[in-house]
């Protein structure tokens, strides 16, 4: 009883803070100076129509490298933590999936994979990018796992894709120091024609590498959860 009272007290206190914030808040009419610089010079300096992408990949590229590293750490910790010893697999035969999901997985998995690749390749032109495309690719593996509970990802291929794309990401960044203005500078390749697929320097390459890395990492996490469940059947 007293516990519930305290919970309501905390929620009410926070709600009071929010109400006063709400009355104070007004959307501004002008951008901050930093955002103004990005908006006015982003097209000339980076050459990507999607300004969010030019910030994520080029202006703040180091943050994105850190973000990819954190995701890698999560995948590594989970696979270490949920490691299954291959003791005499006492697997009961899993329930067969329904006809609908079996047919849907055959039909949809290639389409979803192509959509994911489209999203990360076009990350500098349209909304989307490496992280979103990688997440879409991982959903294709969710569908495969749901349709066929015995399905096993080839861990060797996943690990190879993940480490090669991660290394290549860092390599492209180091090339930026050698050939252009600094770490992860996208001008190691010509900026090209504004708004075309092969433009904005190294951004399509970096985002494709990020997409492959995120897709393989998320698939790895999912298959680790799947392996643990298999052990319990």
């Amino acid at each position: 009883m007293i516990r519930n009272f305290f919970i309501i007290l905390i929620i009410a206190g926070l709600a009071g803070v929010f109400v006063s914030l709400f009355w104070e808040f007004g959307a501004s009419d002008t951008l901050t100076p930093l955002a103004t610089h990005y908006a006015n010079n982003g097209a000339a300096e980076v050459g990507a129509p999607n300004l969010v992408t030019s910030i994520v990949v080029t202006y703040r590229g180091l943050d994105t490298l850190g973000e990819v590293t954190i995701l890698f750490l999560v995948a590594a910790i989970i696979s270490f933590f949920l490691k299954v010893e291959k003791k005499g697999q006492k697997m009961a035969p899993p329930r067969v999936s329904s006809e609908i999901i079996l047919t849907a997985s055959k039909l949809l998995v290639p389409v979803v994979l192509v959509l994911g690749i489209y999203v990360f390749v076009n990350g500098h032109l349209t909304p989307g990018g490496g992280f979103q495309g990688g997440a879409i690719i991982a959903t294709a593996f969710v569908l495969l796992l749901m349709a066929n509970p015995r399905f096993e990802l080839n861990h060797r291929i996943i690990a190879a894709v993940e480490s090669v794309s991660g290394m290549a990401f860092v390599l492209v960044g180091v090339l930026g120091i050698l050939l252009a203005g600094g770490f992860l500078d996208n001008k190691i390749l010509p900026l090209g024609h504004f708004g075309k697929l092969f433009s904005a320097g190294a951004i399509p390459i970096i985002y494709s590498l990020v997409g492959l890395k995120v897709g393989s990492e998320l698939s790895n996490i999912l298959s680790n959860f799947q392996d643990v469940q298999k052990d319990e059947l």
Binding site: N4, I7, I10, I11, L14, A15, F18, F22, F25, A27, S28, D29, T30, L31, T32, L34, A35, T36, Y38, A39, N40, G42, A43, A44, P49, N50, L51, V52, I55, V56, R60, D63, T64, E67, I70, L71, L73, V74, I77, I78, F81, L82, T126, P127, G129, F131, F194, V214, I221, F225, V228, E232
Partner: protein
Amino acid sequence: METIALITSFVLILIGLYGILSQKNILKMIVGFSLFDTGLHVLIVTVGYIRGGTAPILDQVTGTSNVSDKIVDPIPQALVLTAIVIGLGVTALMLAYALKMYQEKQSLDIRDFKELKW
């Protein structure tokens, strides 16, 4: 416009906090954390809203010169992209811990885990 988004984010944060504090099932607490996370993302994007601005993607509408008058702030959106990925990682780790805790005691009720309680 910004009013709706602001109210949505505050309500999501409050629902998430209530879920974290009041629920006994670990999985429901993780759902609370996810709601809290989503509310924060909506809040950060709302703070970057500029009255009458459009999405920060250069096309025929914005042109390529004097863009700063026509778009919303792209920096909070880039930050939220990072925050979403980190939130995903945190949720995956919490779920992995919940799975291990279930394997330990065959229970997901937080009241059954008393080892660190004093």
